[in-house]
Amino acid sequence: MSGTALAPDRTRSLLQATVPLGLGLLVLAGFLVLAGFPVMPAVNALWRGAFGSWYAFSSAALVHATPLIILGLAFTLGSKAGAINVGMEGQFAAGAIAATWVGLHLGALPAMVAIPIVLAAGLLGGAVWITAPVILRIKFGITEVISTLLLNFVGYAAVSYAVTGPLQESGRTYPQSDAIAASARLPQLSHGSRLHLGFVLALVTAALLSVLLRRTTWGFRLRAVGAGPRAAALTGRIPLTKVAGVALLWSGALAGLGGAVEVSGVSYALFQNLSPGYGFTAIAVALLGRERPMLVLVAGVLFGALEAGAGAMQRDAGIPAVAVQVVEAVVIITALLTARRSA
């Protein structure tokens, strides 16, 4: 775990990541047949939407991959410290609301200033959203699993309120906000592609988290709390609740960042259903990436492609995009079962 990852190890990990995904796709295909959907057009649309062209890959797959990577890292950060954040949907929503709110008012500032403010607002929004679960865990020992889960639904209600109330567009017709200031939007990486700076941010976050976990005392303490809490407390003299609480807080903040990146890089405005379930899909991403930041990155790209393909599948073959959650479920379960075996 600690030192340098060896090359054969990395190859094996990639293999371990491909098998569950393949199995998931197979199961989905099986259900498509069972339900009487035409399989070949569906697979065709899925492939075209994901990898059919450089444009599809960069403008759809990688764009979808961006929030999945950031949220996958958020989950990883918590679970490394033994805290399970299943409330990333809610934190994503809170980050998106906060980013939209400040983004609407930053027209006078240059992008160099406006963008960091928007991203910081997202971090803060996510952190605020997870504060109650953190306090409940630290003060009363209440598991974060249920508390974070419940706040997802409060997050959906909050977005719904924001886009029909205080943040509703000036026309007051549609349930959505006005577009945020141009200077608050993440620039596109190349002309004619929808891929934005947020993807680079996701890459940097993964690299940063990888270094933090493996090369710093902070990251080591966090991993120790997750891997062996009694020994961490008695031998490492690490304050368990504090370290786990801080990890959970940062996990929420990162999920909020995901929401901010989605608003300032893709939608430019707040909508209902801004996230098609990214907060849950990202759990599959994190597990498939074996909770190692650089592998989470790879898993995020694969799942981004899947999401993009699902979109194309819905458009071109009339199969509801929600169906890819079957693939995600199979991936999580396979990853759980194989992790047990190799442990």
């Binding site: 249920i146 419940l150 209600a157 909050a158 509801p320 929600v322 169906a323 995600e328 379960i333 079962l337």
Partner: protein, 302 residues
Amino acid sequence: MIDSALLVGFAAASVRVGTPLALAAVGESIAERSGMINLGIEGAMLAGAFGAAVGAAHGGVASGVGAAVVAGLLVATVFAAVAVAARADQIISGTAVTLGATGLTGLLAQRAFTGGNLSLPILPVVHVPVIEHIPLVGPVFFRQTVLTYACYVLIPLASALLWRTRFGLELRACGEAPAAATAAGVHVGRTRALAVLMGGACAGLAGAALVLAQVGMFTERMTAGRGFIAIAIVALGRWNPWGTAAAALLFGGATALQYTFQAAGSHVPYQLFLALPYLLALAALGMAVGRHRGPAALGQSH
């Protein structure tokens, strides 16, 4: 002033809205007493709702209820296979099972309900003779659908199962100290799997109540976290079917408040009422835990 007709209407709505929550929570309380926390009941409930809609569309309400139970059982079987037989992490497996059920019902619903939403037969309200005329209690509790009455039967039945039978004793032992249960000759895996299946069947019934007694149709993701609320309800009800039913009624009330206020023409944003049950659940968790810690081995694989 709120007049008594409005109050009775509100209370009856609380019972109606609380019924799916109570059904799911009673089942989950059995599962949790055996040490299994099943986040997959959200998925089992959704599958139950789907099964109820398909069954009712093709064979009337009775087949709808039957199909709902079967669907709930199927989802619970997957969870039991992963979390009991293969001993995987309960929280993550439950999340995965719910994801899968969401995707699958979404996919199948596209096929099952294309070409316009077919109208479903709905469970009729059954007036229980004589007792329906008891002031307040009668109109609130005894002018409901048969699934609410099933809930009235299930609560004492679950309670008796847990505290009046050998199986209940063994089941609770699995939730408190699986090692001690094993030493006493209990087959922990089998017992826990059975408890999970009972929870799944109840969650399926809950889905049927949602579709056939409340909404009248199936929509993608229609359970909207009710299964997760049921898990909070179990903690608030102290892992005891009676307490669980009372807590479910409270949450039914929080949801029914929405309709009542809308009817009264209130200007409070309706999203507040949408969020209220979840916020209440969160507060309830905080209050419930201090008094009772729940089964000692809850969430631990064996």
